[in-house]
């Protein structure tokens, strides 16, 4: 068995091996109640990673997601009183538009997505700072519970976050697997030139992929904001690295075309396990990003399809 044939199973193997190690060191890890809580806790990150999957699946990347979420925490907090639950709609539209602009810059101005989304991320950050006056804002508890109380809590022992995550996962999966759009995404990710030569409107497909990424980042930001009952321009910091790690260790390579949203579920679970392991090993929070940085490099090195790079990496 070679590494190539093993590749599709690597995320699963990684997940089970890591869970086994953490569980062996700390049997309490396998306590179902604790596990569910751990997983529910990471829902905003999962949703962000779900959106990011679309950008990476077409061979791009979206570095604006964290700042997008930051901006949305501020928007949600500032406008909750005015719009009530309608603020969710505002957030989603803002996320979609920001993503679409990144996509437009990438496809029409030929700016690589890692630059266009990085730049748009700074625009979002700046917007968040301006809107919040660089202060940490908090939501009115009553208003919050009125409009978004349903986001948290339990039904038949299942945390609502998980239900929301499940619904979004289904939508993303359906888009990717069952629609012409999803098929087009795969074509663009696997062989963009062939997609062009088949008459697909590749630019529009890419713009939509980035818009979806922005939209999911906005949903993640909204959830996070409701969860912490407030918003500020740095609230979601630390999400970006984890979101990229979740997508890549899940098995969607930077070169795109394979993997997809279900892989991102596995990737996110791997992130959960690594995090839990580090807490158990008492790795200081300041060092955790270092671990994830190393994991990210390893994941890219293992998953990237070098035949698509045609020998040139700049």
């Amino acid at each position: 068995m070679t590494l190539e044939t093993l590749k599709p199973y690597l995320p699963w193997i990684t997940l089970f091996v890591l869970a086994g190690i953490v569980g062996a060191a700390n049997p309490a890890f396998f306590n179902p109640v604790g596990l569910v809580a751990l997983v529910a806790d990471i829902t905003p990150l999962f949703i962000m990673a779900l959106g990011m999957t679309f950008a990476i699946y077409i061979g791009g990347i979206d570095l604006s997601v964290q700042q997008m979420a930051n901006l949305v925490t501020v928007i949600a907090t500032v406008y909750l009183a005015q719009f009530g639950i309608g603020v969710a709609f505002v957030c989603v539209i803002v996320g979609f538009l920001f993503g679409a602009i990144s996509g437009f810059i990438t496809t029409r101005l030929y700016v690589p997505s890692f630059v266009s989304t990085l730049a748009m991320g700074f625009v979002a950050l700046s917007g968040a700072k301006f809107l919040s006056g660089e202060r940490a804002l908090s939501m009115d508890a009553t208003l919050r519970d009125q409009s978004f109380g349903w986001m948290f809590g339990n039904t038949a022992g299942v945390p609502h976050e998980l239900i929301i995550a499940g619904v979004l996962l289904f939508i993303a999966w359906f888009l990717q697997k069952r629609t012409t759009f999803g098929r087009a995404l795969k074509a663009v990710g696997s062989g963009e030139l062939a997609a062009v030569a088949s008459g697909l409107n590749v630019d529009r497909i890419k713009i939509l992929a980035f818009a979806i990424s922005g939209m999911f980042a906005a949903i993640a930001g909204l959830m996070f904001s409701v969860k912490l009952s407030g918003g500020d321009a740095n609230l979601a910091n630390g999400f970006l690295l984890l979101a990229i790690v979740a997508v890549l260790v899940g098995g969607t390579p930077l070169t795109g075309g394979v993997g997809g949203v279900v892989n991102t579920v596995i990737g996110t679970l791997i992130v959960v396990v690594i995090r839990a392991g580090m807490v158990y090993l008492e790795i200081d929070a300041t060092q955790q990003q270092m671990v994830f940085g190393i994991v990210l490099i390893a994941a890219i090195a293992l998953t990237i399809d070098r035949s698509k790079l045609r020998g040139v990496v700049k």
């Binding site: 098929r183 087009a184 795969k186 074509a187 062989g191 062939a194 030569a197 088949s198 008459g199 409107n201």
Partner: protein
């Protein structure tokens, strides 16, 4: 002096070289012939060090050698003159000649350009080229650049001790008859400096120039013929496994084309890509665009497919004047495009057969954007059977199919969607002979179905054999039109004469 013994090379799914014995003596010109896919290019790559053999030995004057890369091969006196020229066109001639070996001219950390120019002149004299070494390479003709490639390889003489072996890969493919003769004369003279391996698909030229000829088929050397014993027909028979004649290009199936015009160009120009091009493509017609690389052939195809917007002139498709150029609109008018780079533009590797077949027509297999995969699969099964595509089933990744079957998938994609203006860019490139014949059959079949075909052929012979009409373009400008009725086809040199 240079010898390969029982050299083997395998790629996933292909046994490219099977125990090949190959030998070049001092001062000898060795011909190497074989169809595309016979293993010629793999053998050459092994010789000049781009590939490492899986088995067998390579010896130079009896000493075993193993090259990790082309540079090591060069240091042992093996140089390659590339068919797709390897010169960097925005550098000067002398910079190209000494690319990677500038150190010899460096004094106090800067390059002594005078010394380099002087040295370059000496190299140019070897190939009898009298030009200023400071000329920018792009200003030279194709033939001149070919000679500079040769001069570049001949610099090895001064750098190494042993003998030189120089590979010439299809050096004559775009040379005029007189230029070919000059090149041959030069190569014969240079045999006192080097041995040559001459690769070409033009049999008469190989016979003319070579002392000995290696014939390859399916990764094996099937025959070695001496110059005096060589006959075109016999060699061709060995190469192909049977006689090659008019049957090959299905000339007997060539029917007169219809009256209806599918595509019309009226003095169309696209920037500096092509200028004032006019033609009509009719139903049932194979129209071939002939010219050298970069002559504007591809740009014309891309315009019809909507990927290259013209700057002036009028393009009409099926009576409809085209004002906005995009691929979707062209596809909707029935245009299908079979690009040259089959593996990266033709099929999507990583997607399976049915996904590839419906990629251009997903709207016909979906409701409100949701795919009807069952229908996609049954379409794929129909076409797998109709074109005899060799695949276990419709769920197989197209990237794992052979080149010929990939090409069938691409053709099925367009034909199943009802496309009747088919643009073929090098449709037989890299295919083995059986697969080529399948493509030729399909071209005739599409014409019988009333499709019009614009072809950029892989070889001139193919262009002549297949087409009703040949348009020769050069530097983006129309040169000459030939009509090719079966039995009354233009000759190779008729075309070449106008190409360069």
């Amino acid at each position: 002096m240079y010898e390969l013994r029982k050299v083997d090379k395998k790629f996933p799914g292909v046994h490219a070289l099977k125990a090949v014995d190959f030998k070049v003596n001092r001062g000898e010109i060795v011909g190497l012939v074989g169809e595309n896919g016979a293993g010629k290019s793999t053998l050459m790559k092994v010789i000049y060090g781009a590939y490492q053999p899986d088995g067998g030995t390579i010896t130079i004057d009896g000493t075993a050698v193993r090259f990790q890369n082309p540079r090591q091969a060069m240091e042992h006196g093996i140089g390659m003159v590339f068919q797709e020229q390897s010169l960097i066109t925005n550098l000067t001639v002398m910079e190209n000649i000494f690319l990677g070996y500038e150190a010899q001219f460096v004094k106090f950390g800067v390059i002594d350009w005078k010394a380099m120019a002087e040295a370059a002149r000496r190299q140019l004299a070897k190939v009898k080229l009298d030009i200023n070494p400071a000329t920018i390479t792009s200003e030279l003709s194709f033939a001149q650049r070919q000679l500079i490639e040769l001069a570049k390889v001949l610099t090895l003489e001064e750098r190494i001790d042993g003998d030189l072996v120089i590979l010439l890969d299809e050096p004559t493919s775009v040379l005029a008859k007189e230029e070919v003769e000059l090149l041959f004369k030069l190569v014969r003279e240079l045999t006192n400096r080097a041995s040559f391996i001459f690769v070409s698909h033009r049999m008469d030229e190989v016979l003319d120039l070579s002392d000995r000829i290696y014939v390859m088929k399916d990764g094996e050397v099937v025959d070695v013929v001496d110059h005096d014993a060589a006959e075109v027909d016999a060699i061709q028979h060995k190469m192909v496994g049977r006689d090659v004649d008019k049957e090959y290009y299905r000339e007997q199936k060539q029917q007169p084309y219809g009256d209806e015009v599918l595509v019309s160009f009226d003095t169309v120009s696209a920037g500096n890509r092509y200028k004032d091009i006019s033609f009509d493509l009719h139903r049932g017609e194979v129209l071939c665009l002939v010219g050298t690389e970069g002559s504007g052939r591809e740009a014309i195809l891309r315009t019809i497919f909507g990927l290259q917007t013209p700057t002036s002139g009028q393009v009409t498709i099926k009576g409809q004047p085209i004002s906005s150029f995009n691929a979707r609109a062209s596809v909707d008018l029935g245009v299908g495009y079979v690009p040259r780079e089959r593996k990266v533009e033709g099929i999507v590797a990583g997607m399976n057969v049915y996904e590839n077949m419906t990629l251009s027509q997903m709207q016909n297999y979906s409701n409100a954007g949701v795919l009807r995969t069952g229908e996609e699969k049954s379409l794929a099964r129909t076409w797998i059977e109709r074109l005899a595509i060799k695949t276990p089933n419709e769920n197989k990744d197209c990237g794992g199919l052979s080149g010929g079957n990939q090409q069938k998938v691409v053709l099925a994609k367009w034909r199943s969607g009802g496309s009747d203006i088919i643009l073929l860019d090098h449709p037989t490139r890299g295919l083995d002979i059986g697969a080529k014949e399948d493509v030729y059959e399909m071209i005739r079949a599409m014409c019988d179905d009333g499709a019009g075909i614009i072809l950029v052929a892989d070889t001139l012979e193919e262009a002549i054999g297949l087409s009703h009409t040949i348009l020769v373009v050069k530097d983006g400008e129309f040169q000459k039109r030939f009509d090719g009725r079966p039995g009354d086809k233009p000759s190779l040199y008729d075309l070449v004469h106008h190409m360069i």
